[in-house]
Symmetry: C2
């Protein structure tokens, strides 16, 4: 495991009361008593370190057409947070507050609201300068507009409801932890379509980058070493401090938003680096490796062309164009947190292995 992943695992063990301190947590994590498994093997996704432990509340997303669900924790905000490998008291206190104070408000509010049509929100946020991965200001705003009447109407004490609102409102990445499972439950039904070479999952853990192919099913991963992210670093940090590419958040690109819709979110270049024409270029190149265009998700700057959707493994191999991902950068050591954001690609070897496996399976 990479440093931030280890930090998040240790933090998760202390948060759950399974370890009293970092030394106990490290020993327990290494003992073989703890089972680690990718979120994707449990209908879940998690940004960056992606640690989900048994007490953490989750958003529940449902694909209304196919009935499958996907889950994701509530976003902790920026700065020192578990998903970037930080695990000090500030991080753990926040996680406990989220479980004990925030979640009850959101749970009751969602019970009052019933459900929120996330597909509509994603359609709108693409018209509002977000791309649903590293820019989520519009998505978070639109979510708030859906939730507020229910938060106002729920029974929890006023101070608790106001604190819950302020937490959600104070973190523009709140919507990331909804766009991710939304994209996962959109994609998951393509598994087991016979002979389908569309990429159903892309994910990374700071060590390896893994992909799954629709026609080869949920149990076959094709992995290679994750790359370093090229981007902008926070003051005082450089690429020497960075962990390799990590997290499940590239499920957004897999489904055709995120980096694939950077042309819809030109302001993102101020966060990940580059100029506005780069954002157009990133999106237009993705049409060369995808099988379709979004019918609901449109990119204004491309004259409302549908987003490039459905990465075809064969097109990636044929063109040599790899899927573009925009992403946060974690410090390589446990306990530090985010140090920047940038652009990264899956290693070519994932696709080569997958193509060989398709050829072998369907020969």
């Amino acid at each position: 495991m990479c440093g931030p992943q280890r930090g998040a695992v240790m933090g998760g063990l202390i948060y759950e009361g399974l370890a009293k301190n970092i030394e106990e947590a490290e020993a327990l994590a290494a003992s073989g008593e703890i089972t680690f498994d990718p979120c994707h093997m449990h209908d879940a996704v998690g940004p960056m370190a992606g640690v989900v432990t048994f007490s953490m509340p989750v958003w529940i997303l449902e694909n209304k057409t196919f009935g499958n669900r996907a889950y994701c924790t509530i976003n902790e905000g920026l700065g020192k947070v578990l998903r970037f490998g930080a695990f000090d008291n500030e991080v753990l206190t926040r996680l406990r507050w989220m479980e004990q104070e925030l979640y009850p408000v959101l749970k009751e509010a969602m019970a009052i609201k019933g459900e929120i049509d996330v597909k509509v929100l994603v359609s709108k946020l693409l018209q509002m300068g977000d791309e649903g991965h590293n820019r989520n200001e519009a998505g978070t705003s639109l979510l708030i507009r859906e939730l507020v009447p229910a938060i106002m109407n729920c029974d929890k004490p006023l101070a608790q409801r106001v604190a819950a609102f302020n937490f959600v409102n104070g973190n523009n990445h709140t919507f990331l932890n909804i766009s991710m499972p939304a994209m996962k439950c959109t994609l998951d039904p393509i598994f087991d379509i016979p002979y389908c070479t569309v990429v159903a999952t892309m994910s990374r853990n700071g060590t390896d980058f893994g992909i799954r192919i629709a026609g080869l099913g949920k149990n076959r991963w094709f992995a290679a070493e994750a790359e370093m992210v090229k981007g902008l670093y926070f003051p005082g940090y450089s690429e020497e401090d960075a962990a390799r590419d990590m997290g499940d958040s590239c499920i957004t690109e897999t489904a055709g938003i995120g980096g694939f819709c950077m042309a819809a979110a030109p302001a993102i270049v101020q966060f990940v680096g580059g100029v506005v024409s780069d954002s157009i270029h990133y999106s237009t190149r993705m049409y060369e490796i995808t099988v379709g265009e979004g019918r609901s998700y449109k990119i204004p700057a491309l004259d409302f062309r549908g987003s490039p959707t459905g990465i075809d493994l064969r097109k990636v191999i044929e063109t040599g164009i790899r899927p573009v991902i925009n992403t946060g950068i974690a410090h390589k050591n446990p306990g530090v947190g985010q140090v920047g954001a940038g652009i990264v690609y899956p290693p070519e070897d994932c696709f080569k292995q997958a193509l060989a496996a398709c050829a072998e399976a369907w020969a």
Copy 2:
């Protein structure tokens, strides 16, 4: 007065209890007993018919540098509304509800909140696909995020607070009635700068289009017949149904947002007509007739170039390029409402008259 202006005046008289019905209102309006004056002569602005009567609550905007204020009513929403000349019971009932139910909540919430930095909101909305005149989804979203904790904390009954929230939230043009007075109180301090040929006001009333020039002071208007709007009509309507260009909302363009920032809001072409490259073209042409570029208001699609700001009368005359305005279109008859939206320009004669007046004044 044009039809929708007459409709709004009659509706305003009935709303204030000065007339019992439309016949009484028409007779009273024509009697000479009522004084009509432009909003701009009272530190106010109003979209479309722009009728402000003495019981209507207003947003109060303040220019923190110069201390001047500007006022605007609360936006009624789309459909049959007073500002488009509709005056039936639905319209009047809504206006009374806004005065008696909505306003007390917003007043108390604003007292709790203190003040909202509208300059920051306008900077952000330009990064979020709005231009602050005909597209206000981001602006309204950001306003809501500022107001909600105060609405949650105020003393009014829950049902009243929820209804107030739902009204504001249900109308994406809520923010228009804030961006307009914000732009007015930004511009007003330029009046009486010696020899300044910057356009300080543009306004129209469905009959005439009037401009004021900074160096010539607040009391000199240069007016000519308002033009017809070229745009998209709602089903069942055409240019034959349209009133001429009307309202104070082009104060947004006068200050460098609205039509001047269409490149920031490509989705607006779906509302006013044209393709996305038109939105870029509209904005870039405006640099040829303006004196500066926004330091806070940036256009992402133009690589974050500052918005074209400060229309110079002399540049308009020299280049023959007129300021571009995007706008709603009212039905020409009273009582109907909005029939479309599109693009329009001030008549050239306003600028010719103004230039002659400058030459005469400063010879």
